[in-house]
């Protein structure tokens, strides 16, 4: 690991100033589980690490009057998983945080850090896209809020500007009659990164699907909203055949990555299987 300075600003404005001052030589550190590994492997060689842990504004889980859940960027995965507030408002997110990576990483890694690192092979981004979450970014010049779809740009790349800090993740209230389900596939039980994951948020009246938001992630560079499959399901009476056809559309809509963990063909197939299992369960067709 190359030498660096460790700076601990106490406000977002100061952290932003430091980022502007040091430019590409600086990196933000939150929990550090991903960053320290990247430093140790010399994939990154910053001269300054700017720690966010003294900035109180980045902590806390709250709900506003509109029912929007705000998760401070520094909230660790274990805190998201244990939070009564998250469990009450978005149990799917709490459930996901309780299985992410492994116990050590859940105790160290943060929700904000996970999103900023933008590694596709992780749990939260796809689920947050299905939940139509937004991201609040702040710099010394002000604040802006982006839909998560606009924040996640590419492989390990986000829309964050050089002097910006991710302050919070905002998740709008879910409709009372909607149901969210997150499913993931690990190649082996010991693997900590999903090969594919799939989130569905469905709204039904009896056998009729009123609305469906579905997202596949982890095998594509960024999460993919499966709009064709959503259109197929919306307004229809749910049958096993319809669900299978929707899963088939997920498979054909995506362009998976191909790497040592899985070829594109394999990932495409698994994405279809995971979609089918998730949707069957989501629509009450079976306990997949």
């Amino acid at each position: 690991m190359v030498d660096f300075d460790f700076l601990e600003p106490q406000t977002v404005a100061h952290a932003s100033q430091l980022l502007a001052q040091y430019g590409e030589d600086a990196r933000l550190i939150a929990g550090g589980t991903a960053l320290i590994l990247a430093l140790r492997q010399r994939m990154l060689q910053p001269r300054q690490l700017i720690s966010l842990t003294k900035i109180e504004k980045l902590r806390g889980i709250t709900v506003d009057n509109a029912g929007t859940l705000r998760i401070g960027a520094l909230t660790r995965h274990s805190e998201v998983g244990a939070s009564e507030t998250v469990r009450a408002h978005h149990p799917v997110l709490a459930g996901l945080a309780r299985v992410l990576a492994n116990p050590q990483v859940r105790n160290q890694g943060t929700f904000g850090g996970n999103l900023c690192y933008a590694d596709p092979a992780t749990d939260p981004p796809g689920c947050l896209l299905a939940l139509e979450a937004s991201i609040t970014l702040e710099s010394q010049h002000g604040e802006r809020t982006l839909p998560i779809a606009d924040f996640l740009v590419d492989y390990f790349t986000t829309a964050i500007e050089q002097d910006e800090i991710l302050v919070a993740i905002n998740v709008p209230a879910s409709k009372a009659n909607s149901n969210a389900l997150y499913t993931r596939h690990l190649r082996t039980a010991a693997e900590h990164r999903p090969l594919v994951n799939f989130t569905s948020i469905v709204e039904c009246e009896g056998p009729l699907c009123i609305d469906a938001r579905i997202v596949t992630a982890a095998s594509t560079i960024t999460p993919v909203r499966c709009t064709q499959a959503e259109s197929l399901l919306r307004g229809k009476t749910i049958t096993p055949e319809l669900v299978d056809a929707a899963a088939q559309l997920v498979e054909t809509q995506i362009s998976p990555i191909s790497d040592s963990r899985g070829t594109d063909d394999y990932r495409r197939h698994i994405a279809g299987v995971v979609a089918q299992r998730n949707l069957r369960k989501a629509f009450g067709l079976e306990n997949a």
Partner: protein, 158 residues
């Protein structure tokens, strides 16, 4: 590059020390405090041999900087025993064959200690989930899980 004076409590003993920013918590424990029970295994955050408790929570000390632990309380495997009396987890790992080469054992002991502190009566599935961030290449895990089960029973009986 920056140096930091940090205050850290390790196994109930307080230390004030100066560390360079790049010092890993694992190295502070092993090299500076000579607590070599904590192991460095894979060097990639995968194996969990470096696991310690930070303010009671299980973390990987090879993925933590010492400066990040400023003001925190650390427990390592050296802190488990009470004088000459081994911790029930240590006793049960010996009795159930929960170790062979022993390199991963300090990490497993700390992961198990973190679990039992939160959940004194875990199921086998809960034990396996809690040990999910630790790798053992010798035992095949079955005896490790049995060791933790037996330690839980023994601690609950007392």
């Amino acid at each position: 590059m920056s140096k930091h004076t940090i205050s850290i409590t390790v196994n109930r003993q307080r230390h004030q020390m100066e560390v360079p920013a790049r010092r890993l918590l694992a190295d502070l424990l092993r090299e500076d405090l000579h607590l070599t029970g904590t192991k460095r295994g894979c060097e990639t955050g995968t194996c969990g041999a470096c696991s310690v408790l930070l303010n009671g929570e299980l973390v990987k000390s090879c993925l933590s900087l010492a400066v990040q632990a400023d003001g925190c309380a650390i427990s390592t495997v050296e802190g488990l025993a009470n004088g000459d009396h081994l911790h029930p987890l240590q006793e049960c790992f010996m009795q159930c064959g929960g170790l062979q080469c022993g390199y991963c054992t300090p990490g497993f002991l700390m992961a198990a200690a973190a679990l039992l502190a939160q959940n004194p009566n875990p199921t086998e599935a809960e034990i396996r989930k809690a040990l999910n961030g630790n790798l053992c290449r010798c035992t095949g895990y079955t005896q490790i899980v049995e060791s933790v089960m037996r330690a839980a029973q023994r601690m609950n009986a007392n």
